[in-house]
Structure formats: structure tokens, C-alpha cells
């Protein structure tokens, strides 16, 4: 039962991590922007949900109606102020400078969060945070179940948007070849801006669940980003399904090793799995061969 519980914990928690990593993989896939501010943006989403819950008693899931649009606007702002201006550089320089620019966003945002909220750790409270469903003798935390369902729903919606809508076709065209897409009349710049906004908006949902399951402060994003990058590399840069697959593999492997062997060995064993996957599939579990 303990091993099965560890597997289920890994799947549920993996959903939450996939939610946090989805924006990262989306912005890379379409824009070749490795947004290293993703971790601190997750924490920003967590703080927004925390404020709504503590000041206005708004349920964290309901609060997403406010926090998702708020972070969408923040994403548009970051793209407009910083990322867009780097487009005149060569592709290589753009990728490098975008990393530096988003790192600057990360440092500035972290400083602002520290100034506003201080260094003390907080956690989002809701009536279901400490409750669980009992199934086959196992306890499934309600917050993780709801978080996983939210992740599955949002990732499915993003996939539908990408593969079943006109806007999605534009996004995929821009992802495959920006110049050709522009030549056939796709407003590539506008598409990129909206995609970046969506990528940041999704982190509001991930941040909410992260903040309801972990004590956090402005600096918690620094710990998250390395894990999120690992997830999108394992899953395949640019792949929504890959984000989910990568997150679930990371969490399940680490959880099972922690229970069967020792928590101390979990990161090492996962690293071996990661190297093995990348040797067999250099583009990640579900990454496309065209991914850069």
C-alpha cells in the first residue's frame, strides 16, 4: 500500500508540477524563450491567491478568475517591455538574451515580493487543504486531487486551443517557422505576445495549488525553477503532454525510491532516469524532433 500510495502521490503532485511547467514549455515551443522567471511567477500567483483568500475570504479555486487574468496581463507586459525588443537579435543571441532578460524579471519580481510580503513564509488556507479521500485504504489529499483535475483540464484546454482552433494553427505555424508564418499573413508578433501571456497566466493556477500545499515566500521560486526546467527537458521542450509526462515521471520515480530505498537516493536515481531518457530520446519523452 505504501508503494502504491507513493505512486499515486507522485501522479497527483506531478499534475501540480505540470501546471507550473506548462507555461515554460509553451513559451519555449512558440517563442524559443526559456523563461527562467517561471518559478517566481508561480510564487506571484501563489501570493495573489493568498491575498484573495486571507483579505477577502475568496476560495483559492474561485480566485483563479482574478489571478489568471492578472498574470495574463503581467505576461503581456513582460513580453511587450522586454522580450519583443530582443527580436532584432540573431536567433542564438535572442535565446541567450531572453534568458538574461527573464532572469532580470525573476530578480526584480523576487525583490518586489520580498518588499511587499517580507521574508516570512505563508500558506494558503482553505477548508479542503487538510482533508482527504480514502480509497483502498489510501489517503488521497483533496487539494492534490482538485489540483490534478485542474491541471488535466487546463492542459487539455491548452492542447485543444493549440490543435483545434484557428489561433492554435497560427501558434503552431509560428512555432514551426516564424518567417514563413509571417509571409502567409500570420501576425507572429501578436501571437507571440498572447502566447507569452497565456504561459504566464497558467502559472497562476500552478501557483495557487503550490501555495496551498507548501509554505512559501518570495524566494521559493528559486527552488522551483530548476525542477520545472528538468520537467520540460524530460518531457520534451514545447510539448504540453510532455510537461505532464515529465512531471509525473519525476515525482513517481523520486517518491517510489524514497519509500523503497531512501529519500537520499531519490534525486540521484531520477538523474539516472533523466540521462537514460535523453540518451534514448534526445528530444524528451514527447518532444518533437524539430524542437531546438
Amino acid at each position: 500500500v505504501t508503494i502504491l500510495q507513493a505512486v499515486i502521490d507522485g501522479i497527483l503532485t506531478g499534475g501540480v508540477y505540470a501546471l507550473m511547467a506548462a507555461g515554460l514549455t509553451l513559451t519555449f515551443g512558440v517563442m524559443q524563450v526559456i523563461n527562467v522567471a517561471q518559478g517566481v511567477l508561480v510564487v506571484t500567483g501563489a501570493y495573489l491567491s493568498y491575498e484573495l483568500a486571507t483579505r477577502f475570504s475568496i476560495d483559492p479555486f474561485l480566485g483563479l478568475l482574478v489571478t489568471v487574468p492578472a498574470l495574463f496581463l503581467l505576461g503581456l507586459l513582460i513580453e511587450f517591455v522586454l522580450i519583443r525588443r530582443l527580436r532584432q537579435l540573431s536567433v542564438f543571441n535572442f535565446v541567450v538574451m531572453a534568458i538574461l532578460a527573464t532572469y532580470a524579471v525573476s530578480v526584480i519580481t523576487e525583490g518586489v515580493l520580498d518588499m511587499i510580503f517580507g521574508s516570512g513564509e505563508v500558506e494558503i488556507q482553505a477548508p479542503y487543504v487538510d482533508k482527504s479521500f480514502v480509497w483502498l485504504g489510501m489517503h488521497l489529499p483533496e487539494i492534490y486531487v482538485y489540483g490534478f483535475l485542474l491541471a488535466a483540464g487546463l492542459l487539455a484546454a491548452l492542447s485543444l486551443m493549440l490543435y483545434r482552433t484557428r489561433f492554435g494553427r497560427c501558434v503552431r505555424a509560428a512555432e514551426q517557422n516564424r518567417v514563413s508564418a509571417r509571409l502567409v499573413g500570420i501576425p507572429v508578433q501578436r501571437v507571440s505576445t498572447i502566447v507569452f501571456g497565456i504561459g504566464v497566466a497558467v502559472t497562476a493556477a500552478g501557483g495557487m495549488v503550490f501555495g496551498a500545499t507548501n509554505a512559501f515566500n518570495g524566494d521559493s521560486g528559486a527552488d522551483l525553477i530548476s525542477r520545472l526546467l528538468t520537467i520540460v527537458i524530460l518531457g520534451g521542450l514545447g510539448s504540453m503532454g510532455g510537461a505532464l509526462a515529465g512531471a509525473v515521471v519525476l515525482l513517481v520515480v523520486e517518491n517510489v525510491v524514497a519509500v523503497v530505498w531512501s529519500p537520499l537516493w531519490a534525486p540521484l536515481v531520477f538523474s539516472v532516469v533523466l540521462i537514460g531518457v535523453l540518451l534514448a530520446r534526445p528530444n524528451g519523452l514527447l518532444g518533437k524532433a524539430t524542437a531546438q
Binding site: 503532485t13 525583490g111 487543504v129 507548501n214 527552488d223 523520486e254 517518491n255 519509500v259
Partner: protein, 410 residues
């Protein structure tokens, strides 16, 4: 030829004068007003900021206090705190900067055992004393550092008094099983070491014992594994609240309530109760430390009063790290005033001599290793939303509550 030689001599003289001028500026501590520059490195962002930021407040409070009481040796004190952003290599760079560039005359330490060792090494290279309050791990005192002085409680075995309490319970109520789970770092492991032998000798069987790395993606499987053992006692070496909180949430979700729960860190006010869902979830949780706001000590009472005047709030919202930081200043002040000097060798010799210094944390005195041999060691337990010192016995406090109430109940 002669004119050229004169010109060269004149230029060389000017250069020498300029250099000597710069050197003179340096020896005055880099301050133009004759004040004493105190340099410190703290983690004002990153993982250790939860401790570094209140420490900075403690350093600043001491600076305000000493300046409002005539200064140090009649000179005002200027505090210069550099942030290492919780990044170990930055610690060394910052102390090099403080010593070589800013010419700080006194040095205060960083937070964390992890950072204290490189800080003290760098200070030692220049012959400086390093007084600190948050580097109490055994590695600090076993590294051959002759210049480090830790005002805090040496952390090795701080759990032992609680283990002894459990072992001393009558056999009919004494727990039968215990789980030991600890974060793998130089601070938390020593803190929880020593509990197992004491409890095992009293017949409390070890049913789980494991370490886990820092920054685990998901603590649930470890917490679930502990819950599955139904251990009656849990000794948890949590590094901070971000580690402690997921364990508590997982145990509440699992419906598992140990009869006794000790945590190395993370259970201090003011963040603990709000993070874990309120006072009723905190009831019975035990931790250890060297200070609490109700500490019956005249200096501590004055400190609390000053703090509340300056920052507002209630005394239960004072982070103990502020008091620890303040004590660093008090110890350095005592050494400087006793030796009437800023000479580092004299300060080090005086501190090593074992003089008793009265501080906000109570009496402080150091052995040859720099450990505080007079440190007050308290066991704290959350009871009805109050952070109470339950051992040694305090007036008006009924002692350790055992067994711990169930989660969500009083």
C-alpha cells in the same frame, strides 16, 4: 636631465602621498565621521532569508540601542550589512569586501552553520573575531576556528531533554514506538542526534529512521511512510517551516496523530500557526530554542518593549532570530568595552577567557571552541495558540502536554 629627475621625484612623492592618504583613510574604518564600522553578511534573500531578515533587524536594533547610549568607546556605530542571497560563495566575497575594501573594524556573523564556517575562515585570515548567533552546528566548533563565538545554543543534541522527558514517563503511559526523520544537513542532523539512544534505552522502539535531502519535490511519501508505522513519537529534523508544514499537512490528511511530535525548526512564531491552519493544528508540537518573548530577564523585557515601540504588533509576533541577532551586538559590545579596544587579538582573548556576559538571551560565556557554555536551553510547546517554555519549568506554565491533542482539537 636634472629637471627630469626632479619631475620624476615630485611625481613619485605625490603618488606616495596619495597612497598613504588612502591607507590612512582605510585604517579609520572607511568612515569619514570617526564612527566605528561594523560589517556583517546576512542572507537577505533566498532560502535563508527567513532567518537572515530578522537577524538584520536584530543587528539594526542593537546599533540603534548602542548609538542612543553614547556609542561604543564614545564613537557612533555604523552597521554595514551585505547580502549573500543565500549563496555560500558570496559569503567569502562579502567578508573580503568588508575587511579589505570597507575596512570594517568589527565583524558580525552570517546565519546558518553552512555559512558561518567560510565566514569565520575568512575573518581568521585577517585576524578578526567573528561573533555570530546562528552557526551552532558542531562543524563550526570542530574546524579549528579560533576566532568564532556563537551566542546561541549549541545545537548538538538539543532534542535530548525531550527524549529524556519521554523516557522518564511511567511505563504505563510511555510511548512504545518512535520515528526519526531528518533533513540531511549540518544543522538539522546534529540537532536531532542523541534522541534515539535515550529513548531506545527506555524501551521506545525505533520503527522508522531516515534522512532526506534538502528541497524535496514532494514530502508526502516520506510523511506517509512515517504514518504507516503508526509511531507514537516523531522526531523530525525539519530545516524550516517549508519542510515542517508539508509533513504536518500530510499527517492530518492521513489521519495520523503522533502522541509526541518534536521538530528541530520551523515551529517558531509568528509564521508557524497561520501556515499549518491555525492554533488547533499546532497544539502539542514541541521544539527547542534559546529565547522566547516572555523570557523572565530584565534585558529581554527591555528588548521586547523597545521592539514593540519600534515595530508594533504583539510580543508573540517577535521572531526569536531578532533577539539572537541583538545578542551578537551585546557580546561584541561587552568585549570592546572590557578591552577598551578594537584590537581583534584582545577581543578574541577576552571572549575566550570565559567572562559571563549578560544578554537578551541570558548569560553568555565561551569556551575555547567558541561555544556558549552558559546558553539557556528551553523546550517550547504550542498550547492553545501560545508558544510556551515548558522546560525548565516556568511560573504559570503547567509543563509538557502529553499526549499531544489530536489535530484540530484543543
Amino acid at each position: 636631465m636634472r629637471r627630469r629627475r626632479i619631475r620624476i621625484t615630485a611625481v613619485a612623492t605625490c603618488v606616495l602621498l596619495a597612497l598613504s592618504q588612502a591607507a590612512c583613510g582605510g585604517s579609520s574604518g572607511g568612515t569619514s565621521s570617526g564612527s566605528i564600522l561594523v560589517g556583517a553578511d546576512l542572507s537577505l534573500s533566498g532560502d535563508f532569508a527567513t532567518e537572515g531578515v530578522p537577524y538584520a533587524r536584530g543587528y539594526d536594533m542593537w546599533t540603534s540601542y548602542v548609538n542612543s547610549h553614547g556609542g561604543l568607546l564614545g564613537r557612533q556605530v555604523q552597521m554595514d550589512i551585505l547580502s549573500d542571497a543565500s549563496n555560500q560563495p558570496e559569503v567569502t566575497t562579502n567578508y573580503q569586501d568588508l575587511i579589505s575594501v570597507k575596512h570594517a573594524q568589527l565583524l558580525f556573523g552570517p546565519v546558518s552553520t553552512l555559512f558561518t564556517v567560510p565566514a569565520a575562515r575568512e575573518a581568521l585570515r585577517f585576524g578578526y573575531a567573528l561573533v555570530e548567533g546562528a552557526g551552532g552546528g558542531p562543524v563550526v566548533f570542530s574546524s579549528g576556528l579560533t576566532n568564532v563565538f556563537d551566542t546561541g545554543l549549541p545545537i548538538a543534541g538539543t532534542v535530548v531533554p525531550f527524549a529524556k522527558y519521554l523516557a522518564s514517563l511511567p511505563a504505563s503511559v510511555r510511548p512504545k514506538s518512535a520515528a526519526y526523520v531528518t533533513e540531511n544537513d549540518p544543522f538539522d542532523e546534529p540537532e536531532t542526534d542523541g534522541a534515539e539512544p535515550v529513548m531506545a534505552a527506555a524501551g521506545i522502539k525505533t520503527v522508522y529512521s531516515n534522512s532526506f535531502p534538502q528541497e524535496v519535490a514532494d514530502y508526502s511519501p516520506i510523511a506517509d511512510a512515517v504514518a504507516a508505522t503508526h509511531a507514537q513519537v516523531v522526531i523530525l529534523g525539519a530545516g524550516d517551516l517549508s519542510v515542517l508544514s508539508p509533513f504536518i499537512h500530510a499527517w492530518i490528511q492521513d489521519g495520523y496523530n503522533p502522541e509526541a511530535l518534536y521538530t528541530a525548526n520551523g515551529a517558531t512564531p509568528p509564521q508557524f500557526l497561520p501556515a499549518i491552519g491555525g492554533a488547533t493544528n499546532g497544539n502539542g508540537v514541541v521544539t527547542s530554542g534559546s529565547w522566547f518573548p516572555q523570557y523572565d530577564n530584565a534585558i529581554s523585557k527591555a528588548f521586547v518593549s523597545t521592539y514593540l515601540k519600534k515595530y508594533g504588533g504583539s510580543e508573540n509576533n517577535i521572531d526569536p532570530s531578532v533577539a539572537e541577532g541583538y545578542s551578537v551586538g551585546e557580546v561584541m559590545q561587552a568585549a570592546v568595552e572590557a578591552t577598551h579596544s578594537l584590537t581583534q587579538s584582545k577581543i578574541i582573548a577576552w571572549l575566550h577567557a570565559g567572562h559571563a556576559i549578560q544578554t537578551v538571551l541570558g548569560p553568555v560565556s565561551f569556551n575555547k571552541l567558541g561555544e556558549n557554555t552558559s546558553a539557556s536551553a528551553f523546550l517550547f510547546q504550542w498550547q492553545q495558540g501560545q508558544y510556551l517554555a515548558v522546560q525548565p519549568a516556568q511560573a504559570g506554565v503547567s509543563g509538557i502536554q502529553f499526549p499531544k491533542p489530536n489535530w484540530g482539537s484543543s
